[in-house]
């Protein structure tokens, strides 16, 4: 205020001039500070940007360094992300394949299994007798009207045509079941006769005569009783070709005069053969003979 009165003594216009100049300098200063502030703000923003970039680059460098270290260590686990996934995928696939294979194997072991072919289906009938798996037989069927057998590996003496005539067109399940019965029974009879020839040839006199279908067997065997050996002749007829046991067992003693006890023995043997598997019957003979030897 005192300045104002001092200036008023000099004159109003000069006072106004001075005020104007003052205002101008003030405005200039204001502008300057404003500019500076803007500049500052810009620079701050730039600094932020640069800081961010720096951080990014820093993390990248860090990762690479870590990677290099891991490679140096030589564990190879740096490739884990991609290859671990692959390995796991392979293991899974392998497990699935094994699973399918064992399922197919299980089907095969049930006795009747099949595989679709281009024009039909190929059935496999596996035969077995008492815990032993024997041969497999194949049937290649054409699925059309009428169903045809393209080719097969069923032996000639199995009445395939007859069974096919009866059931192939109408009831395939029954056809396969019947064929399976025939084949399994044939395989079982053959197995019994083979076992007899292989393991009990000591009891047999001469050769075991058998026909192709293995349903008529003729053999001579020795029976020791009353401290003498008698030659017996056996004729086994398997009347029902879907069974593994004979329907008829004709045992005769070839000795001159046959005592009552011998006749009993032939009857007993006949009964035995009709109810027990052939090789098991001879196994019982063998054990009986061994027991006799031990007691003697």
């Amino acid at each position: 205020m005192e300045e104002a009165t001092a200036y008023l003594r000099d004159g109003v216009l000069s006072h106004l001039e001075k005020l104007e100049a003052h205002a101008r300098t003030l405005a200039l200063k204001q502008e300057e500070t404003q500019q500076q502030q803007e500049k500052l703000a810009r620079l701050r923003a730039r600094v932020q940007e640069l800081r961010l970039q720096r951080d990014e680059l820093q993390t990248k460098v860090n990762l690479q360094q870590v990677g290099l270290i891991r490679q140096e260590r030589g564990t190879g686990s740096n490739v884990e992300p991609i290859q671990a996934v692959e390995a796991r995928g392979k293991a899974l696939l392998k497990w699935e394949v094994e699973n399918v294979k064992s399922m197919l194997q299980a089907f095969h072991l049930t006795g009747i299994s099949g595989k679709l072919t281009k024009q039909g289906v190929c059935f496999c009938i596996s035969t077995a007798y008492e815990r032993t798996y024997l041969d497999s037989y194949y049937l290649d069927l054409l699925i059309q009207q009428p169903v045809q057998i393209r080719h097969h590996s069923v032996p000639i003496f199995i009445p395939l045509e007859e069974i096919a005539k009866k059931y192939l067109q109408t009831d395939i399940k029954r056809f396969l079941a019947m064929l399976s019965d025939h084949l399994n029974a044939y395989a079982g009879r053959k197995y019994q006769a083979d076992q007899l020839q292989e393991h009990f040839s000591a009891f047999l006199e001469g050769t075991l005569q058998r026909n192709l279908l293995q349903n008529v067997l003729l053999f001579n065997y020795d029976v020791e009783t009353e401290s003498k050996t008698f030659p017996f002749r056996a004729k086994l007829v398997y009347g029902d070709v879907t069974r593994c046991l004979p329907t008829e067992a004709i045992i005769t003693c070839k000795a001159g005069d046959v005592s009552a006890s011998l006749l009993e023995k032939t009857a007993a043997h006949s009964n035995l053969f009709c109810h027990t598997a052939l090789h098991k019957a001879f196994d019982s003979f063998k054990r009986a003979a061994e027991r006799l030897e031990q007691t003697a």
């Binding site: 197919l104 194997q105 089907f107 095969h108 299994s113 595989k115 072919t117 190929c122 496999c124 497999s136 194949y138 290649d140 080719h151 097969h152 590996s153 069923v154 032996p155 000639i156 003496f157 009445p159 007859e162 005539k165 050769t207 058998r210 026909n211 192709l212 279908l213 349903n215 008529v216």
Partner: protein
């Protein structure tokens, strides 16, 4: 059959030792059983009328009926039987006529397995209808016809009709492969197989068609063509009316093995023509090929 001089010598020797015709015949049969490949065998198949049940035939019955059937029709025949372990019945027949004694030098041989409908006959020059009738009557069948299947190897013929040869079937359960006698070659690693994939494909196709085991042994396959000649339309001499008749005959000491090795040897494309590969399956090696509607069915028309 022992050749003529051989048989004559045999007869004299046997006569020296007071042996008879029967012993000579049996000896002849033993010889032929041991060397069956000296003859060409033809396969005949017997058929039943639909509906007739198969009854189990007795060997003794068969022999009796057969002998009686032949001897009532023709007095001068010599018939001998011999059974072998594989259930094969060998029959030797020496034929005579009404006025002549049986000719022992040109005997016919017949092999029959009792529970099968197949009969194998060799050296039959006449009296076929008589023989067929006797066979059918004795074995309780209705009819008999000749299959178009001939070979010198009797066992292979049996393998084909009894289906004892290895066939391939599509299956999920692969049978164990038989060991192959392949000596490991010392392969120079600098040698690269250019056509490796093609070779593998050929091997695979061959295996699918022929299987893994040894093929049955036949010596020839004959194709009678009665197809129209297909040529340029300008050359209309032959194109038209008459089918062009020709006979193609393949022969080899072991035909099927030779066919099996054609594709791997690079001499033929795989897969081979089904006309060649169907021989064991169709159980025939004589074909008649008529005009094509469907060649495979034409060849089944039979002779």
């Amino acid at each position: 059959m022992l050749d003529n001089t051989g048989f004559t010598v045999l007869i004299y020797k046997l006569q020296e030792n007071c042996a008879g015709i029967k012993q000579a015949a049996i000896l002849d049969m033993i010889y032929n059983h041991t060397y069956p490949n000296k003859k060409v065998w033809t396969v005949y198949q017997m058929t039943r009328v639909a509906g007739e049940e198969t009854d189990s035939l007795n060997l003794a019955d068969f022999k009796y009926k057969f002998k009686r059937s032949l001897q009532t029709a023709l007095k001068n025949v010599t018939i001998n039987f011999r059974e072998y372990e594989d259930n094969a019945l060998w029959i030797r027949i020496a034929w005579g006529t009404q006025y002549t004694k049986p000719n022992q030098y040109k005997a016919t041989y017949i092999v029959y397995h009792l529970q099968t409908p197949y009969v194998f006959i060799s050296s039959l020059r006449s009296n076929l209808p008589l023989l067929c009738q006797a066979l059918v009557h004795a074995s309780n069948y209705h009819d008999i016809h000749e299959m178009e299947l001939r070979s010198r190897c009797l066992d292979s013929l049996k393998d084909i009709v009894f289906k004892r040869y290895s066939q391939t079937f599509q299956t999920y359960h692969p049978r164990p492969l038989q060991e192959r006698n392949v000596a490991p070659e010392k392969v120079d690693p600098r040698i690269i197989q250019e056509n490796k994939r093609e070779k593998e494909r050929i091997q695979r196709v061959n295996q699918e068609v022929f299987g893994n085991g040894l093929q049955p042994k036949i010596e020839f396959a004959q194709y009678k063509l009665e197809t129209m000649f297909k040529g340029e339309p300008e050359m209309d001499i032959l194109t038209e009316k008459e089918p062009f008749r020709c006979v193609v005959k393949f022969s080899s000491p072991h035909l099927l093995e030779a066919l099996k090795s054609l594709a791997p040897a690079g001499m033929a494309d795989a897969p081979l023509s089904p006309l060649l590969t169907c021989i064991p399956q169709k159980a025939r090696n004589y074909f008649k090929i008529k005009e094509r509607k469907d060649i495979l069915s034409a060849s089944c028309l039979g002779s």
